[in-house]
């Protein structure tokens, strides 16, 4: 059985900006999250011009998930146009906390 892996590599993605979207869970999902944006930004290990790496992205997601205060954590890159850097989007949904 011969096996051929055909790889479509695409372009190397370079970090440019970070967008943070934190919201609360339904039914309060129209409200902004309580987590400080600066706290979330500090977790991102990239500076403008750095190359994105899957392992680094996964570490950020794991760190946030391990706190137990988020229902979901997503970190995705989006390139607005050819030849430009990537906008990294960190999206978290906070779990409802009953006090």
């Amino acid at each position: 059985m011969d096996v051929l892996y055909r790889v479509n590599r695409g372009r190397a993605v370079v970090f440019d900006t970070l967008l943070v979207k934190a919201r609360r869970m339904a039914p309060m999902d129209s409200l902004e999250g309580l987590t400080r944006e600066s706290l979330l930004r500090d977790l991102i290990p990239y500076h403008r011009g750095d190359t994105l790496r899957i392992d680094q992205n996964d570490k950020v997601i794991e760190k946030l998930q391990s706190t137990g205060i988020f229902n979901s954590v997503r970190l995705e890159d989006s390139t607005p146009g050819a030849g430009t850097g990537s906008a990294l989007i960190l999206e978290v949904e906070e779990r409802c906390r009953v006090i």
Partner: protein, 131 residues
Amino acid sequence: MNDHAVKYWSGDAAYEVESFYRQSGFFLVKVEANVSNIKEDKNSWLAVLRVSEGPHYRFGKISVVIVEDSMGAFSVNKLKAREGEPYVEEDLSLDQRQITRVLGNAGFVRARVAEESIQKDSLRQWTSCIA
């Protein structure tokens, strides 16, 4: 339980066993299920699965082609599937993930890997792709 249900479940079991063998490289496996009543007890059945394994396929040539980069090379030593080793279907998805991860850690976070397997004696071909 009745005869009809027992036949259904034994057919299902035969299908599962066949799938297991195929995933391990026995592509020509045949599994037949035979069910019979045990005479003394009408609520007991004897189900026999007869397995004809057929040949055990092995991995042949393993190669990685990076489509848009003629200079690009990927060492097949990093892969789980190895030439001459028994075929294991799971190795193919592990390799696809490994290639995606290695490229993803070099900045190619959007790399896509498609796998094509060609059974040499019949030229049967499978293709799968992970994003």
